[in-house]
């Protein structure tokens, strides 16, 4: 279409307050656009995304008979949808629109006004040339499968699953450990209210188990995902626990009957502070309450010579099946909530704190288990040699806010350190020192909790601990651990002898977060936590439509924030399901039959098997429902006989030539 043929483009340059106008001379951009061929109106406006900004487009379409729209503003990832809608409601096909990014990729990244303005002028010229080539297209609609897959059964996954199930949607909850519960199941009390973790978590865990709308697969992992928003297919591998979940009554007699009289295997759930048998339940409130056999430890799996007393104990139920094999489940779902949580920083990496060297140096998670009434010491805080500590030092920010390990703040450590200080003091009467860099207590009731601890006469020493050592300088230090620290408030170096050191380790991405993110086709932030679509406007969405985030897999956070986020993720999934279908961009590829030479180059290129070869006509064919619009086949076709809607060769040529066409 050219001016002669009635091309009438409207160009709108947004100020975005001063975000754009501060660095780009928006008036000059609009004026230069006005002189471009085919441009009927060119304006600059304070906030194009506001209602009056959008109205401007709609009114101009009517008033000036516009047939193409260009908006130069922020990233299309933010407002392309907004302006396409304005174009449509103004009476045009919404694809007669092109967006120009002069904020994220111009005004925000350049300082020199002249250069930034020249860039904006080039980009607008390119868009005006491109939009002239745009064709009218229709969005396609994909139905949304109403079932949801939730991956990870920590408090985030549990809350999301229950919310969805209570709304009547079917949920598949996949957890890789033998029980759901995640980290929260290990705690005795939670800050800042000190409410009993089990009392609030276990009812939710059993609700999951008993909910008619939830299929719970523990000891399982997702191994394959394919498809697209609305229609995902996932494969879940269910590892054998060797006890049939349907047959087991949870009497646990098999555990008592095990030929191992003594428990010998380090108990992961208790952070290896106690031992378990080869047949075990991770903790008494586990859901499902069905034992697991650890094939690494069970003699039967090594020698086949065990008396199999577990099988005998189970008797008529026949729930123990030592020949069980991995089972694959294949499910259809419309959306996915990832709630795979975090892992605690490995304290061995901070060698100066002596974890793994001095037995009386503990991680916070270990102390959580010691404090827990159902933990290895039934809630008593005792050292490995059975003594009760008289003096305890809590070292904050281990593996957080540190150039050498992890740079981020783990957000919960200050608060859980305060919690542990309170609980340790309560249980032992010990003198407790907290060594902190900054106290960070920004949350409801958090600062009050800190004040409470101050009044409980817990000591606070400001300074990053240099070292934990057993090298005594005098008799008061003999046989104890010494914390060396620069007290930055008192302005002196101190040596504080203690009986027990607790390292407040930070929160990290799961070690397999990279694999998980690839499996679900999403991105991560540099440190490895999953990346949200927008930190403020789409905090639980990802760039892959239909894949949502909840909890610490997205970044460190406490339980209240985790639950809030899980609720939000569930709401996003519900919104999709209740809408029934979702609109998808018509950016699919298609074959121009006359031109196709039947060379078949494109056929094997398509990762979605959308291209087939029609034998009779000897032409390639693209299944529009399967095509995802990457355009790889378009670029590869030797005879240029494949086109891609929204990204036609001509459109891209016009755009890049427009960029280079200096006036």
């Amino acid at each position: 279409m050219s001016e002669r043929d009635g091309l009438r483009i409207g160009v709108y340059v947004c100020h975005c307050g001063t975000n754009i106008a501060g660095t780009v001379d928006v008036r000059a951009v609009a004026e230069s656009a006005a002189a471009l061929p085919g441009v009927a109106v060119s304006r600059d406006y304070k906030y194009m995304c506001s209602d009056p900004g959008q109205d401007l487009i709609r009114q101009d379409i009517q008033k000036f008979g516009l047939n193409r729209i260009v908006v130069a503003a922020c990233s299309p990832h933010l407002h392309e949808h907004t302006f396409r809608t304005a174009t449509r409601t103004g009476g045009l096909n919404e694809f007669y629109f092109q967006m120009v990014n002069i904020r994220e990729q111009d005004s925000w990244v350049h300082e020199h006004k002249g250069a930034a303005t020249r860039k904006a002028i080039d980009l607008v010229r390119a868009a005006a040339r491109r939009v002239a080539r745009h064709r009218a297209l229709e969005k396609s609609r994909t139905p949304i499968h109403p079932a949801v897959l939730v991956v990870g059964g920590g408090i985030a996954g549990i809350h999301a699953a229950l919310t969805l199930a209570n709304a009547g949607k079917h949920v598949y909850l996949v957890e890789r450990e033998p029980s759901i519960g995640g980290h929260m199941a290990k705690f005795d009390k939670t800050f800042p209210t000190l409410d009993c973790a089990a009392c609030i978590l276990t009812p939710k865990m059993s609700a999951v188990k008993n909910h008619p709308n939830i299929t719970l697969w523990t000891y399982s992992e997702v191994t394959a995902v394919e498809g697209y928003i609305g229609n995902y297919k996932a494969t879940i591998a269910r590892r054998p626990r060797y006890i049939d979940e349907d047959l087991c009554a949870g009497c646990l007699e098999c555990i008592d009957a095990c030929v191992f009289r003594q428990a010998k295997v380090p108990d992961e759930f208790n952070e290896d502070l106690s031992r378990r048998k080869p047949i075990y339940v991770p903790f008494p409130q586990a859901v499902p309450l069905v034992p697991v056999i650890d094939p690494e430890a069970c003699i039967e799996f090594h020698s086949h010579k065990c008396k199999k007393t577990c099988v005998t104990a189970c008797g008529e139920r026949h729930a123990v099946n030592l020949r069980a094999e991995e089972k694959l489940e294949r499910i259809d779902i419309g959306s996915i909530v990832l709630a795979t949580g975090f892992r605690a920083y490995d304290a061995r990496r901070s060698a100066n704190y002596g974890y793994g060297v001095y037995p009386n140096v503990y991680t916070a998670l270990e102390v959580e288990r010691l404090i827990n009434a159902s933990g290895p010491t039934a809630g008593e805080v005792v050292l490995r040699d059975g003594r009760t500590p008289q003096t305890v030092g809590i070292v904050h920010c281990v593996g957080s806010r540190d150039e050498n390990t992890n740079r981020w703040c783990s957000r919960v450590c200050c608060m859980y350190s305060l919690k542990l200080a309170h609980l340790v003091k309560e249980r032992t009467g010990a003198e407790v020192f907290n060594f902190y860099i900054d106290m960070r207590t920004p949350g409801k009731g958090f600062e009050e909790f800190y004040q409470k601890l101050l009044s409980e006469r817990v000591h606070f020493v400001r300074g990053r601990v240099a070292e934990v050592t057993d090298w005594a300088l005098d008799s008061s230090e003999e046989g104890r651990l010494v914390i060396r620290v620069e007290d930055t408030l008192a302005g002196l170096f101190r040596r504080i002898p203690v009986d027990m050191v607790i390292l407040s380790t930070g929160l990290e991405p799961q070690p397999d977060a990279g694999d998980v993110r690839r499996l679900f086709n999403i991105s991560s932030s540099p440190e490895g936590f999953f990346l949200e679509r927008h930190p403020k406007l789409a905090p639980v969405n990802t760039f892959t439509e239909g894949v949502l985030l909840a909890g610490c897999c997205q970044g460190p956070k406490d339980i209240p924030d985790t639950v809030a986020q899980a609720g939000a993720a569930a709401a996003e999934a519900l919104a999709l399901i209740d809408a029934g279908s979702v609109e998808t961009d018509p950016n699919t590829a298609y074959v121009m039959e006359e031109a196709c030479s039947g060379c078949k180059t494109c056929v094997p290129l398509c990762p979605y098997h959308a291209i087939s070869f029609a034998q009779a006509a000897r032409k390639a064919e693209i299944n529009q429902a399967l095509c995802k619009g990457c355009g790889t086949c378009v670029a590869a076709c030797p005879s240029s006989s494949i086109g891609q809607n929204l990204f036609e060769d001509d459109e891209i040529f016009e755009e890049s030539e427009g960029l280079l066409a200096y006036a």
Binding site: F543, P607, I652
Partner: protein, 150 residues
């Protein structure tokens, strides 16, 4: 020096990684050289060698292709296809007298705003050292009848 040489770079960025990386550079207010102009494509696999040659023919001093890291392509393996074509393009460019520094393929993820900055700055620096492109203005692209496509 008002007339110092400012190289013109056309950058083809994939929608899911590099384009978002460039958006992140913006959101983080990183500052870099203003010489690159981005053309968004859905995947680096969409970059037709003709786009690159045409950009050079129309006066680009450099062409940058940005895609997701290997294994991270939103469409599974479009970036491998891009790499394959890139190798071919490199040889072709060389024969046409286009210096290797002028054509670049980079894997930049949505989280690597700082890499967008480093790569563009580095490329601009190298192109400035090379000077404007002198050789082989390519043939004109056959332009389809405008009326036919509108």
């Amino acid at each position: 020096m008002p007339d110092a040489f400012e190289p013109k770079i056309v950058a083809f960025f994939c929608n899911w990684c590099t384009y978002l990386g460039a958006d992140l550079a913006g959101a983080s207010r990183l500052k870099y050289a203003p010489n690159a102009r981005v053309v968004r494509v859905m995947c680096s696999g969409r970059v037709d060698p003709q786009f690159v040659l045409n950009a050079f023919a129309r006066g680009a001093d450099g062409v940058l292709i940005g895609g997701c890291h290997p294994g991270d392509c939103h469409y599974q393996e479009g970036n491998y296809k891009a790499l394959r074509r890139f190798r071919l393009l490199q040889r072709l460019a060389e024969q046409m007298g286009i210096e290797p520094e002028r054509l670049r393929l980079e894997w930049i993820s949505a989280a690597e705003g700082d890499r967008v900055r480093t790569v563009i700055n580095d490329m601009v620096e190298k192109l400035k050292a090379l000077g404007p492109r002198r050789v082989g203005q390519g043939p004109d692209r056959p332009v389809k009848d405008l009326a036919e496509v509108s």
